[in-house]
């Protein structure tokens, strides 16, 4: 089947200069200009570090994006994910023509409208109604288009009562609602959205996600969506692009890419050595977490249905009573699944290990987060919620016939099913 490509990014790169603008930049500008008039290449394009903010680089220049290539099909909802500093927002800025790429090009078959951060372009002194027109026009609508949709926009925003009040009197939630409402009724072929759903209450977020689904499904329009909220990404996006430190890592189906993203921010290693620089002054602190199978082998991934265990090594700095050690399991969206804890213990100074063992509940394939909690009575001594993961995976030739792997739900143990005949007459 011939693909209907609506947007194509070719070798997009973006270089930024670090530090402040001052006499240094002036000399670089002059040097660059001097190279240019002699017909030579920009001397600062060859240098530049990858964008890793935690390490000290040698160069004054960094690549916020480097050689990004991807294609978007018409009607697709493409999620762009990656950690902070991956270059997501820079990419969206280039896509929405706010800034130009340093190299490369983007080709498009449709109008692009962006909703980078709602409420920009709102004038506090003007009323909601006036701002609908102003904001709509900023986003590229004509007055006629806005007038024809005015009632719908006001209704969607849920701000009827305040519509003739200056926007400066609005609550932040109302401003977002109004701004999103304007953008939702835009009719560009491509809509670019960056983290807008962060504000607004649960009801409105649901409404907004629903509206975005409508836009792509019924309107046949293309949406590019950046968010750290994996649940929203999963719900909305058909495909995802993963970026890391300004580089393109992968593009593919949403579930696969989310999985890859989560592994990137930790992944299951079988054994985690915990950072104890701060916690070692506490009465009790955890030092490592190990995931093992029944036989005591270190496991990176656990085959679905196989018994498994978690071992938490911890150090007790002073004699203590009523010590409880617990682990929690959540899904990747941080929804809690289960908590298990030890009986209160009386422990002397020393190193200990606590083993948690699971052989009844069968988790479905996927990645789950582990939490560690250490407490004495009601006093929480330590709580670790820091990228500890356990992965369950399908293993071919699984001999356990009790598993019906229909891939739905978190727990795949079957309830007992029994059918009794009550009577035969109806």
């Amino acid at each position: 089947m011939k693909k209907d490509i609506i947007l194509k990014a070719e070798n997009i790169s973006k270089q930024y200069r670090l530090g402040q603008v001052g006499t240094g930049t002036l000399s670089h500008d002059i040097n660059r200009w001097w190279h240019k008039i002699r017909g030579k290449e920009n001397p600062y394009l060859k240098i530049g570090d990858i964008n890793d903010r935690s390490t000290k680089g040698n160069s004054d220049y960094v690549w916020a994006l480097q050689d990004i290539n991807f294609e978007v099909e018409r009607g697709e909802v493409l999620g762009i994910i990656g950690k902070n500093g991956a270059g997501k927002s820079t990419l969206l800025k280039i896509l929405s023509k706010v800034t130009a790429p340093t190299t490369g090009s983007i080709k498009s078959r449709g109008r692009i409208a962006s909703l980078l951060e709602v409420g920009t372009g709102f004038n506090g002194e003007m009323t909601g109604r006036e701002n609908i027109f102003l904001n709509g026009a900023i986003l590229g609508m004509t007055k006629k288009e806005i007038s024809s949709k005015l009632d719908e926009i006001i209704e969607f925003s849920g701000c009827e009562r305040y519509i003739d009040t200056p926007v400066k009197r609005y609550s932040s939630g109302m401003t977002v609602r109004l701004a999103f409402a304007v953008a939702a009724f835009l009719e560009p072929e491509i809509l670019v959205i960056d983290e807008v759903l962060a504000v607004g209450d649960a009801e409105f977020q649901k409404k907004a996600i629903g509206k975005m689904q409508d836009i792509s499904r019924e309107g046949g329009r293309t949406v590019l969506f950046v968010s750290h909220n994996m649940a929203a990404i999963q719900k909305l996006c058909t495909k995802c692009v993963l970026l890391q430190n300004g580089k393109f890592i992968a593009q593919g189906k949403t579930d696969d890419i989310i999985q890859q993203y989560l592994q990137q921010s930790g992944g299951s290693q079988g054994k985690y050595i915990l950072d104890t620089t701060i916690s070692k002054k506490k009465k009790v602190y955890a030092t490592s977490l190990t995931i093992e199978d029944k036989e005591g082998n270190l496991m990176n991934e656990i085959p679905v249905g196989k018994p498994w265990g978690v071992i938490v090594d911890f150090t007790v700095n002073e004699n203590i009573n009523n010590l409880i050690i617990a682990i929690g399991i959540t899904d990747i969206h941080d929804s809690p699944i289960s908590t298990s804890w030890s009986l209160p213990q009386e422990l002397k100074k020393g190193n200990y290990s606590a083993t948690f063992f699971e052989d009844t509940i069968k988790f479905n394939t996927g990645q789950y987060k582990l939490l560690i909690g250490i407490s004495r009575g009601n006093e929480v001594i330590e709580y670790i919620d820091n990228s500890l993961f356990v992965i369950f995976s399908d293993v071919i030739n699984q001999q356990d016939e009790s598993i019906v792997n229909n891939k739905s739900g978190i727990i795949i143990n079957q309830m007992l099913v029994k059918i009794d005949r009550i009577n035969t007459t109806i």
């Binding site: 209907d4 983007i106 498009s108 951060e117």
Partner: protein
């Protein structure tokens, strides 16, 4: 919807390099409603939460004219001929104000609008254009007060004559606006990286006023300071103000050569400003 996938049917392309000169008039036309809404915003937000409202537009030129009349005419004794000095000054100041409003309003386009420019794309030229147009509204209001005083002095028996060239007055104002816009765009582009220019403009405008024949006739400076007269003669603004007074009050002189020179400078400044502005708009957000 066009479904054929030939490689050349892209609607547009985003590339790092700008064409040497690219004023996309079609795009500006598509955004004409935005231009009108910006003008409307600029005009109405001035009145909001003020008691005197649009009266503020009138107070400033009136007080400046009174001050100038006292200092330059009563104290320093500048001769304005048969025209009442107050009216002479008011004419100059009204026209001059339009220029400064255009220049200062447009010269911080990028800096003042960085927040919105950083979020959404629309033809950037819309913003300075809207400044020039909304200031035209302000100029119109100020011009009405000039007409009021003109009629007042006329009935007082002052010797006032309209010149036939008054019909060209709107063209003169357009030239003034274009010059302010061109210069403003040029400065706004430079301010994005080097803030030095925004300091320059503050007192630069003040000094420029003294070289622009606002409160004296051009002939005066040639008489009194023959050595420095060229400073005023090379200033295109001086010709505009002198000509405006000639049209409105029938005083002074009109130099065809001077006006042609002004027109040439205006066109040059406007296109250079546009060029630099276009070059800047693509990536100013990284340096502003």
């Amino acid at each position: 919807m066009n479904d054929n996938n030939t490689p050349n049917d892209w609607l547009f392309e985003i590339t790092p390099k700008n064409k040497f000169f690219s004023l996309n008039l079609k795009e500006v036309w598509q955004y004409r409603d935005l231009l009108l809404l910006f003008v409307k915003r600029d005009v109405i937000t001035v009145y909001k939460q003020t008691v005197l409202g649009p009266l503020w537009y009138l107070i400033q030129p009136l007080f400046t004219s009174v001050t100038f009349t006292i200092i330059f005419n009563n104290v320093a004794g500048i001769d304005t001929g048969t025209v009442p000095p107050f009216l002479f000054n008011l004419a100059g100041i009204t026209v001059w104000n339009y220029f400064t409003a255009c220049l200062t309003g447009t010269s911080d386009t990028f800096k003042a609008n960085a927040a919105i420019f950083g979020k959404v794309y629309f033809p950037r030229i819309i913003t300075p254009l809207s400044v020039v147009i909304s200031n035209l509204v302000k100029f119109g209001i100020q011009f009405l007060i000039f007409i009021g005083f003109y009629i007042f002095y006329y009935f007082q028996g002052a010797n006032l004559g309209l010149n036939g060239l008054i019909l060209f007055f709107p063209i003169l104002i357009i030239i003034m606006g274009l010059l302010g816009l061109g210069l403003g765009m040029l400065i706004s582009a430079m301010v994005t990286k080097y803030r030095d220019f925004s300091h320059l403009i503050g007192f630069g405008i003040q000094l420029l006023m003294y070289l622009s024949a606002v409160m004296y006739p051009m002939s005066l400076i040639k008489d009194k300071l023959p050595g420095y007269g060229w400073l005023v003669e090379y200033n295109p603004l001086a010709y505009i103000i002198e000509t405006a007074r000639y049209m409105l009050l029938d005083v002074g002189e009109v130099s065809v050569l001077g006006l042609s020179y002004t027109l040439a400078v205006t066109i040059a400044v406007f296109f250079i400003g546009l060029l630099v502005f276009n070059k800047t708009e693509k990536s100013f957000i990284d340096t502003v």
